[in-house]
């Protein structure tokens, strides 16, 4: 887990452009395997897809994911929201959406995009966005 965090961190530092799908040339780190963005994403989708994921693992997964220098892909968030559904945890589902918005920081175009991509899932699972609930403003 720690090495994955390191790899993600180093990869982010060396990256000059986001959404770079090819693995980087070996530069500032060892000859360890570089995980591609797709591998990273599918690893996390798989993590949240575990049928018997428990509440602790959901929280742990989300907190770890939030620690990375990236905004999680909609497919990862989708997997996490479905895990919330299995755990009957609407509060965490809405909190995850708030976290996505927070992770975007000053880049205001990211959150609307993620919501756009997730809207079928949000409809299907009956999850309201913080904006719909009026809890997005202080």
């Amino acid at each position: 887990m720690f090495s994955a965090v390191l790899r993600a961190g180093f990869r982010s530092l060396s990256r000059t452009r986001a959404n770079h799908t090819a693995p980087l040339a070996v530069r500032c780190y060892s000859h360890a395997e570089v995980e591609t963005d797709e591998e990273f994403d599918s690893r996390w989708v798989t993590y949240f897809s575990k049928p018997d994921l428990d509440a602790w693992e959901l929280r742990k997964g989300m907190n770890t994911l939030i620690g990375y220098d990236l905004v999680p892909e909609p497919k990862i968030i989708d997997s996490a929201l479905r895990a919330c559904r299995r755990l009957n945890d609407l509060a965490s589902a809405i909190r995850i959406l708030e976290a996505v918005r927070d992770k975007s920081g000053p880049h205001k175009e990211i959150y609307p995009y993620v919501i756009q991509e997730l809207s079928p899932t949000l409809q299907e699972l009956g999850i309201s966005t913080p904006e719909e609930l009026g809890i997005d403003k202080v």
Binding site: S12, A18, N19, H20, D69, L70, E73, E109
Partner: protein, 78 residues
């Protein structure tokens, strides 16, 4: 609204920001340190050097002695 939104950059946003801002931060700090050195410490050190260039320790001692501030040696009058 508009057509469906295009996918924005979502990875490495902090790294990008740091790559831009850290060199500036280090550069400005360095400039601040250099500026302080030449605007503050150099004039101070020069003032000390100038003061002591023509300093006559014996003359100053005698002036202090006559002023009567010492216990071990009294002014020439007493």
């Amino acid at each position: 609204m508009t057509m469906s939104l295009t996918k924005p950059a979502m990875r490495g946003l902090l790294a990008k920001r740091l790559r831009f801002h850290l060199p500036i931060a280090f550069g400005l700090s360095l400039i601040a340190a250099i500026a302080f050195k030449y605007a503050v410490t150099e004039p101070r050190n020069k003032a000390y050097a100038d003061f002591y260039k023509q300093y006559d320790a014996t003359k100053e001692f005698n002036a202090m002695k006559e002023a009567g501030i010492f216990e071990s040696v009294r002014p020439s009058g007493e």
